[in-house]
Amino acid sequence: MSVRDEHWTAPAQELSLARRKQIFAEAYRRERLRTWRIWLVGGGVFVVMVIAAADIGEVDLVHLWDRLPRFRSYFGRMVPDISLESLWPDLQRWFRRGWVWLRALWETVLIALYATSFGCIAAYFVSFLAADNLSPHPAVRFVARRTLEFARTIPELVYAIIFVFSFGIGPLAGVLALALHSFGAVGKLFADVAENCDREQIRGVRATGANWMQTMIYGATPQLGPDFLSYGLYRLEINVRAASVLGFVGAGGIGQELYNAIKTFRLTDASAISLMLIAAVIAVDMLSSWLRGRVIGKGRLSEA
């Protein structure tokens, strides 16, 4: 019997106060030691990992310190010359290709919108196959889960490069790449949500003699709809950001313009495009969170 067990099992009055104090002190010390050991080992492993990562990652703080002025000059050159006297002409010069960029930006948002819709529609069908409680067969479930996993593990840009090769340069490749990746990411979320659905409703629909398809449409979809829509909108926000870089590999959108501007050191152009992009991203975020609030509000209402 260890000291610690004695402390808990022996009736208190049988032990003298001094003995009890001693037992407590010993247990306390052991506990402290154990905590220290865990922190020491964990911290040691962590420090080793940081050093190894810094070595592999070619982190050079001296180099960084030397380059610090370059940061200032580089990002300083992105700020255009704007004076109050000639504000409008200056702005016009800054955004001189504004309409081209606006079109590219519109294409970016459109890519995100279509990719999200296609991805979510495909994910909707597959998620029921992948959900533990709804899947018609464990083998189907396994295949569906692995398919979703594969689709979401490969980054969308890798898909984009392969699709640009096969479908040609342009937004088509971007939509397909983004849709495929979203399909995997959203499908997993949909399936996880579907696993938490209310069984009674599904049993009720099945009791009327509905087949599997009808059970999913009339039993599962109504209760999961608001969650699905909310996840879909969340994905739209992510996809607008992702669509903005598809142009780097020729898959459409504003990325191409931005990439060229930065590579050719047209830095004021780069800042103008970045600002427009940020504005678009924030606008889509706001719209999506407003819609999500409405959708979830409605969902709550139908539950009550």
């Binding site: 190894a52 459109l110 279509y114 593990t153 840009l157 090769f165 479908f167 992009l277 504005a279």
Partner: protein, 292 residues
């Protein structure tokens, strides 16, 4: 479903004529005019949808030809062979992991003070809070890959630019998440600490931070997982990691090597997901047990 008015247990012998329009208005919802309006809206929606497909360059022939070429490319990927370059690729995967690790670490550390400055219940000065939150929104608006090309231009090619890109982008996102987590903390614990006579800093230290700590660790681990994925493509713009080789071999149409690299990425991501998931569960479960 809506309930009708309370019905008597037994219907009366002669039922009075019931006002179905008032009792069940939903049965009379679809009038002709409503159907026509719905049809028009559906038509416009369909037209806009097809128009958008046209803008994006969808077309039957392009899809068919593209699928055929895609099939060819996938066919060329097998059997995967590394052409003796496997050590090179594995080193690049290590570089990718190092970038994700350091980038997330820097972001996780920086996001704590920034998050504190952006939380309504911690930071009393409105303008500071606003500045932190809005600048985090702005930085978040640009993808890590865009930050990566900026940093490649400043510090040159290599993984260091990638680390900076991940760190900057994730600091912004984690700042927002941390501030939100801080704002969602339980007030009672803070009040309890304050009741002992603690000052402002002590209230934050003992009443607020212990509540958000598991959330912060969970977020950081989750971002590490997601950053392994993003770090694997940062090489496309020259910011280090396996992405460089991936892009290079694709440009050379060396499809068999491409499939090796993609396979390596899949394995690395799966390993990190597994490890990080275990760590996350341990941290959060351990904390939860101690709270109880």
């Amino acid at each position: 479903m809506r309930d009708g008015p309370e019905k008597p247990a037994m219907p009366p012998a002669v039922s009075p004529s019931r006002d179905w329009r008032r009792e069940r208005p939903e049965l009379f919802f679809w009038t002709w005019s409503r159907l026509v309006i719905l049809g028009l809206l559906a038509g416009i929606g369909g037209y806009v949808f097809l128009w958008g497909l046209g803008v994006l360059g969808f077309g039957i022939d392009r899809l068919v030809n593209g699928s055929l070429r895609l099939g060819q490319a996938i066919g060329l990927m097998f059997p995967p062979t590394a052409q003796g370059q496997l050590p090179l690729y594995i080193h690049a995967i290590g570089e990718t992991l190092a970038m994700a690790f350091l980038g997330t670490l820097v972001a996780a550390i920086l996001s704590v003070p920034l998050g504190l400055m952006g939380a309504r219940n911690i930071m009393p000065v409105g303008p500071v809070r606003l500045l932190v939150r809005r600048s985090s929104d702005v930085v978040r608006g640009l993808d890590a890959l865009i930050w990566a090309i900026f940093f490649v231009s400043v510090v040159g090619l290599g993984p260091f630019a990638g680390i900076l890109a991940i760190a900057v982008n994730d600091t912004a996102i984690l700042t927002k998440l941390t501030a939100e987590a801080l704002e969602n903390t339980d007030r009672e614990q803070q009040r309890g600490v304050r009741a002992t006579g603690a000052g402002r800093l002590s209230v934050i230290n003992f009443g607020v931070l212990p509540q958000v700590f598991p959330v912060l660790i969970g977020n950081a681990l989750y971002f590490f997982e997601s950053n392994v994925r993003s770090a694997s493509i940062l090489g496309i713009v020259g910011a280090g990691g396996i992405g460089f080789y991936l892009m290079d071999r694709m440009m050379l149409s060396a499809w068999r090597e491409v499939s090796v690299i993609v396979g390596l990425i899949l394995v690395a991501v799966a390993c990190i997901d597994f490890l990080s998931g275990r760590l996350r569960r341990r941290f959060i479960a351990g904390r939860g047990a101690r709270v109880q």
